[in-house]
């Protein structure tokens, strides 16, 4: 029956999936400092070919973001090939397919119809982006994936290997180390991150990622079928695609194609809905009659296998349009969090949050481990956007990587001299805690680390009484506002346990003139 064909078509699809996944991991690992001030490869290309993020960020910005132009190409290809992206390229889809043997099998039973959900979500997200509620990055598959990997999996991998190889190093005999040490060196040079990073929202990011895998229990590719708003955008486009699947309408009782379809794209009459089909081509292989084929043109537009509720759809648009006005009445809208310190080159806050796609790349690439995902500091709509948390890490003075990897230009790409002129915040001393002030103990580690060529942290000698009642002369630090760039290294390196005696706040950040610091005249006049 089955003639020996050269290579089944789905092999090509698998090959493409594997190649794209490998490329994705390669780019992810390379999203790091590599010995050069400019980054050669970064995973940001994935976000720049993502039309959902391009559309949402552009709607929020009010103009088309040229950086995301490649996304138009993806959409045009979808117009020809349908949802090929979901089946052949998407690394999230590949991982879901790949984990099929690991994730629990879908419970058989009657098919659920959550399918309209993603369209409501798409409508809500795009309208929301227009009106100032940018949330596409919350649910975009790449954002979820890269965020989960960067904030949780990658650092955990480092912790795991460090723990294991520290154990072998300290406890195992020499012959074991003769094997394990080279392995560790190899892993470090290839896949492991350079050093241990620490992040906020680690478990949340991981949880969201795992949830997508867990949902496979309900249906194969549950996320892709029902939730993925990027998939929804592709579906809307694929409805008009030139490539169409054809089946035999009179092919008997066999339902192989329906059973094997990972997207549930084939209906009872064995018509293939191009809104759902991701061109995995498994059905061709499994059709005993060889009746399924994909061809350009022909057949009229397929009807969706489901119906959207107009009421719900309009409702989701309305929520997207109205919710932003509630945000404008929060205290946050009047007085932003003073610890909301954005990376250097970040656009003014509203524009920034609008364009930030929450991909986590800036946090992955931040060599000072200073950038952390915001929780509620920037409001619910700002979750996962980057902020500098200077007690954990700082902004490296000569580094400009975050602006280089940002796929949407939310963080502008700055040259090193430009970046050094940007003030992201201002340090402030707590004299009740700072040792030379409070205890008469010499310290000024902050001054030592202050990176500006003319140090923003200077010191005066003062004679104070220490806790033993002795008169001691110590160097007491103080800040020159005009010189401080807000990098936060002083806060990171402050040797006090717990709360630092010097803290960076967003006061004076150059992207917001409303936060300008009082003019002290010339910086040089301070005694």
């Amino acid at each position: 029956m089955k003639t020996t064909r050269k290579i089944p078509l789905y092999y090509w699809r698998r090959l493409s999936q594997l190649a794209c996944l490998a490329l994705f991991f390669f780019l992810f690992i390379r999203t790091d400092y590599s010995g050069s001030d400019s980054i050669e490869y970064a995973v940001n290309i994935l976000f720049r070919i993502d039309p959902l993020l391009a559309l949402s960020a552009s709607l929020a910005a009010g103009f088309f973001i040229l950086l995301m132009l490649p996304a138009v190409g993806t959409l045009l290809l979808t117009l020809i090939l349908g949802r090929f992206f979901c089946g052949w390229i998407c690394p999230m889809g590949t991982l879901l397919d790949g984990c099929r043997n690991v994730t629990p099998n879908p419970r058989t039973g009657k098919e659920r119809t959550y399918r309209p959900l993603k369209f409501y979500l798409l409508g809500f997200l795009l309208v929301g982006a227009c009106f100032g509620l940018p949330m596409a990055g919350y649910v975009d598959p790449f954002s979820i994936l890269v965020r989960g990997l960067a904030l949780a999996v990658d650092p955990a991998l480092h912790a795991l290997s460090a723990t294991f190889f520290t154990y072998t190093y300290q406890e195992a005999p020499a012959w074991v180390n003769a094997v394990t040490e080279p392995v560790y060196a190899f892993l470090k040079a290839s896949v492991l991150p350079f050093n241990q990073k620490y992040h906020d929202l680690t478990l949340l990011s991981l949880g969201i990622l795992l949830l997508i895998f867990f949902l496979e229990r309900l249906e194969r590719r549950f996320f892709c079928r029902n939730i993925c708003p990027l998939g929804a955008l592709f579906a809307v486009t694929a409805r008009f695609s030139l490539l169409r699947g054809k089946t035999g309408s009179t092919c008997g009782k066999c339902r192989n194609c329906r059973e094997v379809c990972r997207m549930g794209a084939i209906d009872e009459d064995r018509a293939i809905s191009m809104l759902d089909c991701n061109l995995c081509l498994d059905c061709i292989h499994h059709c005993p009659g060889n009746k399924i084929s994909f061809r350009f043109g022909g057949q009229s537009r397929t009807k969706p296998t489901f119906a959207l509720s107009r009421r719900t759809f309009v409702g989701s648009l309305a929520v997207g349009a109205l919710l932003p006005f509630f945000l404008k009445s929060r205290t946050l809208a009047r007085q932003s969090d003073e610890l909301l310190i954005r990376p250097p080159g970040a656009l003014p806050e509203e524009e920034f949050v609008g364009r930030c796609v929450r991909c986590g790349e800036c946090m992955k690439v931040c060599i000072g481990n200073g950038l952390q995902p915001a929780f509620l500091q920037a409001g619910l709509e700002g979750m996962f956007s980057p902020i500098l948390k200077a007690r954990t890490g700082y902004c490296e003075y000569n580094c400009t990587l975050c602006g280089q990897v940002c796929p949407s230009g939310a963080i502008a790409k700055l040259s090193a001299p430009e970046k050094k002129k940007v003030k992201i915040g201002n340090a402030v001393f707590d004299k009740n805690r700072c040792l030379p002030y409070a205890n008469g103990i010499p310290c000024i580690v902050c001054e030592e680390h202050c990176p500006t060529p003319d140090k923003a942290i200077k010191f005066r000698e003062a004679t104070v009484e220490n806790s033993r009642g002795e008169k001691v002369t110590v160097k007491q630090p103080y800040l020159i506002d005009d010189l401080c760039v807000g990098c936060g290294i002083c806060e990171t390196k402050c040797p006090l346990p717990g709360v630092s005696a010097v803290m960076v706040t967003s006061a004076g950040e150059s992207r917001n003139p409303a936060k300008a610091l009082p003019d002290t005249g010339s910086a040089r006049q301070v005694i």
């Binding site: 030592e448 680390h449 990176p451 140090k455 040797p495």
Partner: protein
């Protein structure tokens, strides 16, 4: 305790077989050898030459490195600054020392520093990574310190610290060569050889700043270079220890070297127009008998 016993202790401790923390006790003989201390000083535009010139009156590298030795060359690579900014040891000075150690038949030559800025940026921007990449010899190991290899060490003679974490290779080296850059420092006024030893310390180094001078002297009781080569090819006069402004840099084209770490620091202080007594760590180390700070008692050879 001698070196052999110390190494045994480190090995046992690392293997989890000993609860006792390894520590050094310095024999008085160690501190008093070669009196008055020799110090070589050379000036010139050719930095490769300079190093050879300061080494020769001290007996050449063969005096400090025997065939098969494990050698540590410890430059200052603390900051993400380029060579002209005078925050790190000059790459050519480091390179020549490494080459001479290899020529002398070293079993391996280790070069590393625990940096203050991001590790990789410091190694690259300092120019040292590129300079050492030119040496094609498998015995040279230029690496980032491994977190696992800091060993807690009791500072038996310490007056301000009782215990510090110190990099294992620095303790185990047959020959430890300290190669600081001479520069300004806000708290200690200058950072020279003794301060450079903080680059082999683990843990939170910020606490060293509370009574820095004495703590550096305490550290010097366990981190004991066989040779100190101070790079003053260009020195940083203000905004140290990392600088960044070329106006703060003065080119001196000078390298000094001595077997006596305190003498080396004391003499280098004069390059800044300061007196050795103005540097607390020098005074404290001298008081502990770790070396000579009286310039009149140091035999300076212009090489």
């Amino acid at each position: 305790m001698d070196r052999r016993e110390f190494l045994r202790q480190v090995a046992l401790w690392s293997a989890g077989l000993s609860v006792g923390v390894p520590h050094f006790t310095i024999g008085e003989a160690l501190a008093a050898d070669a009196h008055p201390p020799l110090l070589a000083h050379a000036t010139g535009k050719n930095y490769r030459d300079l190093v050879d010139r300061v080494l020769s009156p001290l007996g050449g590298m063969e005096k400090f490195v025997r065939p098969g030795d494990k050698v540590v060359v410890k430059p200052n690579i603390g900051w993400d600054r380029n060579p002209a900014q005078a925050a790190n040891t000059h790459p050519q000075v480091v390179r020549v020392l490494v080459e001479r150690a290899l020529d002398a038949g070293a079993g391996e030559v280790l070069v590393f520093d625990r940096t203050c800025n991001e590790e990789r940026r410091c190694y690259v921007n300092s120019g040292i990574q590129e300079a050492l990449a030119g040496i094609k010899d498998k015995r040279l190991k230029f690496f980032h310190p491994d977190e696992r290899k800091y060993v807690p060490v009791d500072i038996a003679r310490g007056k301000a610290v009782r215990r510090l974490e110190i990099y294992r290779d620095a303790l185990e080296a047959d020959s430890y060569i300290n190669v600081p850059v001479a520069k300004h420092h806000g708290l200690s006024r200058l950072t020279l050889g003794l301060k450079n030893s903080m680059g082999v310390m683990g843990g939170t180094r910020g606490a060293m700043h509370h009574n820095l001078g004495q703590k550096l002297a305490d550290l010097a009781t366990v981190v004991r270079p066989k040779l100190t080569v101070i790079d003053a090819t260009r020195i940083l006069l203000a905004n140290g220890p990392q600088g960044g402004n070329l106006d703060d840099v003065r080119v001196l084209d000078t390298v000094v070297a001595s077997v006596d770490p305190v003498a080396a620091d004391a003499y280098a202080t004069t390059l800044f127009g300061l007196r050795p007594e103005e540097i607390e760590s020098t005074v404290a180390a001298h008081a502990m008998g770790l070396g000579e700070m009286d310039l009149k008692k140091i035999r300076v050879i212009k090489a």
